[in-house]
Amino acid sequence: MILVVNGVEHELDLDPRTTLLDALREHIGLTGAKKGCDHGQCGACTVLLDGRRVNSCLILAVTQQGTPITTIEGIDHPVQRGFLEHDGFQCGYCTPGQICSAVGMLDEVAQGWPSAVTDGGGDDLLSDAEVRERMSGNLCRCGAYANMVPAIKEAAAQ
């Protein structure tokens, strides 16, 4: 099968049970996407599929042949600098997923997608409450959430 990751084609001979996350980590050697739960519950494995954020542990690699896949190794975005400046991480294990998720989320906001806390009254889709709600699929056990919010908001303003 062929996977296109960060613009590079990888020809692979994989067990059909292989998840996209394991294909990236164990077969392509891109270990930036993390395995935190393998159940789609923590978000550490978040990557972008054709620009949309997904939990790569819940996707079989064989179903994504030809889809443009972006991992943290393929991202160069102001969110990363924001995380450094605001100390938006500690152990760093959820961080690639948080950053991929934030990049995908900012695109969703640019397209005007509402979240569960959007009331439809033309409010700021990047208020603190919006960012927190939209990022809630990505857990951080170090509790660096409060530092990620300004990091993401500043990146969005750039």
Partner: protein, 683 residues
């Protein structure tokens, strides 16, 4: 030794490994490319809480390299940690215990093989429930690490004019670092290399090496980056031993990353507690009685006696005091350390009871605490080297906006929300442990500083760089810090909030020796200085403040504001220190509101062993959380004047939230976590 002008210490230097972490370049234990034909292991966990594993049948058609169980496992040398005697016995001591290991050429095949294994188990009746009327309860000789189980002064049976007698219960809590415990093991001849996620590379090397009968220089543990630990990676865990055994038996390098579910049983957790606190005071709020009795549990394998009531010994003055611990040995997994073991649950009971006493006295809860501030450590009778608890309460109150707070509950309502505020004290012991550091002048105006420390996300790599730069008198860019490798000079565990003090002390000594001797290399071992040091009276203090809103219709609790004011000696890096404080408070919020291992007594296990059902705080739960600190000077501690800060944030913060829930609603939740079903019936 001469004092060196401080330039880097105290500055908010960004994490030195930060760029690697935000680009995915930082390597964790399961992410190394190793030479050889890598095999994958999957652990098989016991489906019963007690019994014996009589046989394992392997389908010959399974696509596996090996199946290891006690019937064919490599014999290990004895260990003082029975949990590490993996696959050595047919005895099953808890549900979730590792009983077999499947090794295969792919992760998929290993996992499938584990699912297909047929286990013949002789099941026995089990007991999984902690209760205060268990006839087998006993008083351990000591509680962790070596405190007396019981202390007393005066007579706690005296009648005080105003008294509270309350019981608080806390559930099993699970560390759940984001990186599950993982090991990649390979043998090079008789030498063992482990890429392992842990808090103590040198300790893991020594422990695992001893199990395989190896000399210390035959084991190399690499722990460059660690995806959190919170105590659960403090010592070698079964994954390291299993991976090493599998690699030995199969001849392949073996990667074993535990599935999230296994973290709930195999690597430790915080024991559930039942705590009775009796406080008695004069009518004007002077404590006469402090009595704190704590019940906790351990496994059949191992006596782990958590020091739940020990913090109470140091907090408040009273003529009549008693603390005690009772332990039950159950057919359950062994509890271990979890962030502020003892202090975190113990201070829930004490600081909520203090709030209840303040209510009974009709007194401001800060004033009650100030009124009972001891002049010396009540436990030892010796002075504290520094204690600024009252200042934390007073200045924290000013910063938080405590003035004009109505003492009565259920006075503030905005829309559907009841709003209230609460306060609780915080404390954590200040410790240092022997460590050795080496510094080399690389001759390029750069210096290599080496110590086998581990950075779990604490900022250790960063603050050690700052300390070394100042002691060498060079900018931080000139310091090349090497940690996370057991072959470096030995360092103590990243635990007990002691990393900065222990490793910083060794680094300081090595750098000063290099300057004083003018040589190109210097090594410093802090053991003698630490052995000579007075240990008593060294504690960090703080005060936590919470504002909550409770939905009058649903009982949902939201923490609108969480604030910590700390007195923790010299703050070495305000950027990373603030993050540690906030992280502790957020975990404290989880303890107050979300986290709970829900026990199924029939199965003898927690049923919610994944991150969908074991709730930890998510982005949406964390609104305003802030930390500030006093400029506390204490030269008696260590060369940096620092106190540990990794754990104090979770001490008292849960109590502040629970006290705020009472203030908002009048509902006193004494059984953690404060789920809405415990509040709603009383709204």
């Amino acid at each position: 030794m001469t004092a060196t002008a401080r330039r880097a210490v105290g500055q908010p230097l960004q994490r030195v490994e930060g760029p690697d972490k935000v680009t995915g370049a930082a390597k964790y234990a399961a992410e190394y490319q190793v030479d050889g034909d890598l095999a994958y292991a999957w652990v098989v966990q016991s489906p019963v809480a007690r019994g014996r594993l009589a046989d394992v049948q392997v389908d010959p058609l399974l696509d596996v390299i090996a199946v290891l169980w006690h019937g064919n496992a490599l014999p290990l040398e004895d260990s003082d940690d029975p949990e590490l005697a993996v696959l050595q016995s047919d005895r099953i001591s808890y549900r979730g215990q590792a009983v077999a290991l499947v090794v295969a050429r792919s992760l998929e095949a290993a996992r499938r093989g584990a699912q297909e294994l047929s286990l013949t188990i002789e099941k026995e009746p089990h007991d999984a429930v902690l209760r205060t009327d268990d006839p087998d309860l006993y008083t351990p000789d000591v509680v962790n690490p070596s405190f007396p189980s019981e202390t007393s002064a005066g007579d706690v049976s005296v009648e005080a004019p105003v008294a509270v007698d309350v019981t608080y219960t806390t559930p099993a809590l699970h560390n759940n670092p984001m990186e599950p415990h993982a090991t990649t093991a390979l043998w090079s001849g008789d030498d063992l290399i482990l890429y392992d996620s842990n808090q103590h590379p040198a300790g893991v090397a020594a422990t695992v090496g001893a199990l395989f009968g190896l000399e210390p220089d035959q084991v190399h543990v690499v722990t460059e980056h660690v995806g959190g630990g919170f105590g659960s990676k403090g010592t070698a865990r079964p994954n390291a031993v299993l991976a090493a055994m599998a690699a030995k038996v199969t001849g392949h390098p073996v990667k074993l990353a535990l599935p999230r579910r296994a973290l709930f049983s195999m690597v430790g957790h915080r024991t559930p507690t039942i705590q009775r606190v009796r406080l008695g005071a004069t009518a004007d709020g002077v404590l006469q009685v402090i009595d704190h009795e704590a019940y906790s549990q351990s496994s059949r394998l191992f006596e782990f006696a958590e020091q739940t009531a020990v913090a109470t010994r140091h907090m408040y003055a009273a003529p009549n005091r008693r603390t005690g611990h009772r332990l039950a040995r159950l057919d359950m997994p062994t509890p271990r350390w979890m962030r502020a073991p003892g202090e975190a649950p113990g201070m829930v009971a004490l600081e909520c009871a203090m709030d209840e006493l303040a209510v009974a006295l009709d007194m401001d809860p800060i004033e009650l605490r100030v009124r009972n501030e001891p002049t010396v450590d009540p436990d030892s009778g010796k002075p504290f080297t520094s204690r600024h608890y009252v200042e934390c309460l007073r200045q924290g109150a000013a910063r938080f906006g405590w003035e004009d707070r109505d003492l009565r509950p259920r006075q503030r309502r905005e829309g559907d929300w009841w709003i209230g505020t609460g306060v609780a004290g915080a404390t954590y012991p200040t410790m240092a442990q022997p460590s050795t550091a080496r510094v080399r002048d690389l001759g390029t105006q750069e210096f290599e500083v080496a110590i086998a420390a581990a950075d779990l996300g604490t900022g250790a790599r960063t603050i050690l760089t700052q300390i070394a730069a100042d002691e060498l008198g060079v900018p931080v860019e000139r310091v090349r810090l090497r940690i996370g490798d057991s072959t470096l000079p030995p360092a103590s565990v990243a635990g007990g909030s002691s990393g900065s003090a222990s490793w910083g002390w060794a680094v300081t000594g090595a750098c000063r020796a290099l300057r004083e001797t003018g040589k190109s290399e210097a090594v410093f071992d802090s053991s003698e200085l630490i052995a000579e040091q007075e240990k008593e009276g060294k504690h960090a203090f703080g005060a936590h403040f919470a504002e909550v809103r409770v939905d009058a219709v649903t009982g949902e609790v939201r923490v609108s504001r969480l604030f910590g004011m700390y007195a923790c000696g010299r703050i070495l890096n305000p950027r990373t220190a603030r993050s540690q404080f906030l992280g502790g408070m957020v975990m404290g919020m989880g303890m107050a509101l979300h986290e709970e291992g829900v026990l199924d007594p029939a199965m003898g296990d927690w049923v919610n062993h994944d991150l969908a059902e074991y709730h930890i705080p998510a982005h949406a739960d964390v609104e305003s959380v802030e930390a500030e600190w006093l400029d506390e000077q204490d030269t008696s501690l260590n060369p940096m004047g620092s106190k540990g800060i990794g754990e104090i944030g979770i001490v008292g913060s849960p109590a502040a939230i629970l006290n705020a829930i009472w203030h908002a609603t009048g509902v006193r939740v004494r059984d953690l976590p404060a789920r809405l079903d415990k509040i709603l019936p009383y709204l």
